[in-house]
């Protein structure tokens, strides 16, 4: 059963289900990494991580032990426009769990020692990205595409920006991020509306008041032409190959036609990209395209991982496929299949209470509303071939692309530099700061 009510002005979304004695409890805050001041990228994420590190009078170890004893799990995720504390707990322990989460959000200790420890840990994580070729490619790809625009800056910050964060910054960021107008609550599972309302009144009463901050993100502009960046890693037999250009935004009138067109191109196993790259040629285990969603136009990305020998041929094929696709659009059969796939598979995003809550929270945080969810299938089914082609031509410019390849530069540089329309080829070491 889906319900919605308000607690101290904050929306509360509930998906009640008593199938299992479990409850998911989510505290979301509007405003994520976009709240980071210039030069302090990663500050919001740092603040959110430190929420897990205990409250005044209760150090992190005790909090962790308390969570474990309750049969609870708590994760913190930071997006560009929201923070989510997502908890799961055995239903019999819901009240002490909510009480603990409330204290973590409202009275975090934000200790200097924990900050120093978190900085060292994040530095380690950033170094570890160098060992993960896929993650490394994606990080460089965003940076190459968006440059200094907020969408190009890493949510977790850089080694330099993390180093610059002081405790006062974290405390100020907590005050800025945690206030009445920012909260959205969610729960899914074995809890009733009355019980949830009572728990929120008991533990989230008198939320601090502050004017709601309107985060304005400028529309991103990208460079003309095809720019190639080789992230040099010797001894790789495989290339992590990523291509990106501007896609769509959450409230884009072309949203549904674009989503259908993307699925037909690279969003399914039988999509054109997968068929050409994997099924026909066996060049890469995976080949896919992905839509990013933000309040402004986010990235549309294509990934594959061919062998070093096949990297040039694979990249050339992908460019050709993209150009032809934007010019001609999907075939009737591709369009039909993509529409049926998206409308049909929607049931797997709605099959559990936790999944339904997740959809509703995302809609709430992106400001597209429950109406977007209700008309999802109808909107997908209504897309025509002309709509899809119009959306592709209005939004995708395959001539303006960021291309990143992780692998041996001595082979990849000349190979990818010879691709049509390339205006620039640069090489960076895999362990260069980013």
């Amino acid at each position: 059963m889906s319900t919605r009510f308000v607690h101290e002005g904050a929306p509360v979304l509930l998906e009640e289900s008593h199938a299992l004695p479990l409850v998911d409890f989510v505290v979301a805050l509007r405003g994520g990494a976009l709240l980071d001041p210039v030069g302090q990228e990663g500050l919001t994420r740092m603040m959110a991580r430190l929420l897990r590190r205990g409250v005044r009078g209760q150090p992190a170890a005790e909090v962790d032990q308390a969570l474990a004893l309750l049969g609870g799990r708590l994760s913190v995720t930071i997006a560009r426009s929201s923070i989510r504390l997502h908890g799961s707990v055995l239903a019999r322990n819901l009240e002490p769990f909510v009480a603990l989460v409330a204290r973590l959000v409202r009275e975090p200790a934000l200790r200097t020692g924990d900050l120093a420890r978190a900085k060292r840990r994040i530095a380690d994580e950033l170094r570890a990205v160098r060992d993960d070729d896929g993650a490394l490619a994606d990080r460089h790809l965003r940076r190459l595409l968006f440059g200094d625009h907020p969408y190009g800056l890493p949510v977790g910050g850089t080694l330099a920006s993390i180093r610059a964060i002081r405790r006062d910054d974290v405390v100020a960021q907590h005050t800025r991020a945690v206030h009445r107008g920012a909260f959205v609550f969610g729960a899914a599972g074995a809890v009733t509306q009355d019980e949830l309302a009572r728990l929120l009144s008991a533990h989230f009463a008198d939320l601090p008041t502050r004017g709601r901050e309107r985060l304005s993100v400028p529309a991103p502009k990208i460079a003309k032409g095809r720019r190639v960046l080789i992230v040099d890693k010797k001894g790789r037999s495989q290339t992590q190959l990523g291509m990106a250009t501007l896609g769509i935004k959450a409230k884009d009138p072309h949203y549904f036609p674009f989503a259908v067109a993307d699925a037909a191109f690279g969003g399914m196993f039988t999509s054109r990209l997968m068929q050409e790259v994997r099924a026909k040629r066996g060049w890469s285990y995976g080949a896919s395209s992905q839509i990013g969603v933000g309040t402004q136009r986010e990235a549309w990305r294509v990934f594959s991982h061919p062998s070093v020998e096949n990297a040039h041929a694979c990249a050339a094929l992908e460019l050709e496929l993209m150009e032809r696709y934007v010019a001609e659009g999907p075939t009737v059969a591709e369009l039909r299949r993509a529409k049926r796939f998206l409308a049909g598979s929607r049931c797997f995003e709605e099959d559990t209470a936790a999944h339904r809550l997740d959809l509703r929270l995302s809609a709430e945080l992106f400001g597209v509303g429950d109406d977007h969810l209700a008309r999802y299938r109808r909107s997908i089914r209504a897309v025509t071939r002309e709509d899809a082609q119009r959306a592709l031509q209005a939004r995708l410019k395959p001539r303006d692309l960021a291309i990143v390849a992780v692998g041996a530069a001595d082979v990849l540089g000349p190979a990818l530099g010879a691709l049509p329309g390339v205006t620039e080829v640069r090489t960076v070491a895999f362990d260069a700061p980013i």
């Binding site: 049969g71 840990r121 570890a128 037999s237 495989q238 196993f269 099924a279 049926r340 099959d351 559990t352």
Partner: protein, 445 residues
């Protein structure tokens, strides 16, 4: 729902074929009001049904009792390779048609191969279940092996191997650990196979593999979700009617010999930090000690509250990554621990600290509420895995395959809850002594 014994009788009466007769083999409670039922057709094909109307979806899973441990020397990876070939097509549904048909109805489908089993699944909107039955029965019965397709899939699998092993530091190190510890045992080679073996498969190898292992008496079908049991069993009876049972080879035996000394391997790989992987011989999933070691692994390594994780990762900052796992295998295998050192710190320091913890675990029982907290976390994990129809089907299929007990996940949870500190101490002393372990150290190249 219809009385199951009566239903089986009715369906058996409706056919003259011995292979299509249906037997009801029993039901078992599956948490709350749900019941998983076991059935078997005359040719040996087993079916597990779980009707759950909480969402209009259904999961259809086909489990085969063949995995990488059944492979012959020189043909490693063939079970996984064959999983790819199962998408080759049939005369009725040519190559690519299976995926197209499934995606057109919004189905999620995929397959997985591990050491003991291979599984194909389709999660579908409830009304589309007949499509999955038709497609799965058709490819099990009428698969066409086209040499061109074998060649193309060989390249795909080589790409998968490069991605997961050759260009992946942890993949390379893990492969070295398993082959060092488990050697010639059925689990000593990687499920994806050695590269040279992948390059050498012939079409005849693939045909022989299919003939040997893809027989109805080696298959368990799991149907979980929103469906009519009578109609689905009738449909299965019809769809799988043309199959004939095969004589299944005996599975390979495991070696009961345990190594007497520690073995060390050192690798130079493109890693930014030093790493160590450790492996001890571990018990089979059915062994009561598996339960104790799984709980011990969670208690010591399973996150922020866990004793060794807290000390090495959070407090002393000797490691940035630390995990332990004990794979749920039918035969004795491995208890594995992986450490990634903090940048600039030698991994030996983390290893020394780890060894001191393990000595203590072998010396004195766990105290306080560590064990209770671990049990609560395991209860949460197990319940979380049962939220979706796919999750339920997965648990039923796995426990049927390994333990012949479709509702086994609940008994396993009860076994976790019953453990005492003395049980953990006994298991630690039996399995975690340093002398029989293998150690793979990765130095940045």
């Amino acid at each position: 729902m219809t009385d199951p014994t009566e239903l089986a009788r009715r369906l058996s009466r409706s056919t003259g074929r011995r292979h299509s007769k249906l037997r009801f083999e029993g039901g078992a409670a599956f948490g709350g009001d749900l019941e998983v039922r076991s059935w078997r057709f005359g040719h040996g094909l087993r079916v597990k049904t779980l009707v759950d109307r909480s969402a209009p979806v259904v999961s259809y899973q086909t489990w085969l009792g063949v995995g990488s441990r059944h492979e012959a020397p020189g043909k490693t990876g063939l079970a996984h390779f064959f999983e790819h070939l199962m998408f080759s097509g049939t005369e009725r549904f040519p190559h690519g048609e299976l995926d197209r048909r499934l995606e057109e109805v919004g189905a999620e489908s995929n397959a997985a191969t591990w050491t003991d089993w291979t599984c194909y699944y389709e999660n579908l909107p409830a009304r589309e279940l007949p499509l999955a039955i038709t497609l799965e029965a058709d490819r099990l019965t009428h698969l066409v092996l086209d040499p061109a397709n074998v060649e193309s899939e060989r390249e795909v699998v080589l790409s998968e191997r490069r991605d997961r092993v050759d260009d992946d530091v942890e993949g390379r190190a893990s492969e070295a650990l398993w082959s060092t510890l488990l050697g010639e045992s059925p689990y000593g080679h990687p499920t994806i196979g050695w590269e040279a073996d992948i390059r050498g498969y012939t079409v005849a190898d693939c045909r022989a593999f299919h003939r040997t292992w893809y027989a109805p008496n080696n298959v368990t079908i799991v149907v979980a979700g929103d469906f009519e049991e009578d109609a689905v069993l009738a449909r299965l009876q019809e769809a799988y009617r043309d199959l004939s049972p095969a004589r299944l080879p005996d599975g390979p035996a495991s070696s009961s010999r345990r190594p007497k000394r520690e073995r060390r391997v050192e690798l130079a790989l493109p890693s930014s930090v030093e790493r160590v992987l450790l492996g001890w011989p571990g018990p089979a999933f059915s062994d009561p000690d598996w339960v104790a070691l799984a709980v011990l692994g969670e208690l010591l390594f399973g996150g922020r509250h866990a004793r060794i994780y807290r000390d090495l990762v959070l407090d002393r900052e000797l490691a940035s990554e630390l995990y332990a796992s004990i794979p749920p295998f039918a035969l004795p295998s491995i208890f594995e621990v992986a450490i990634g050192a903090r940048a600039g710190r030698p991994v030996e320091r983390a290893l020394e600290a780890l060894d001191r913890h393990l000595e203590r675990v072998c010396r004195e029982p766990v105290q306080g509420d560590e064990l209770e907290a671990t049990k609560a976390r395991l209860e949460l994990s197990m319940l979380s895995a049962l939220e979706s129809a796919h999750g339920k089907g997965d648990q039923i299929g796995f426990f049927s395959q390994i333990m012949d007990e479709p509702a086994g996940s609940f008994r396993r949870l009860a076994a976790y809850q019953a453990l005492t500190p003395a049980d953990l101490l006994r298991a630690a002393r039996r399995w975690l002594a340093p002398k029989g372990r293998a150690v793979v150290k990765v130095k940045p190249s």
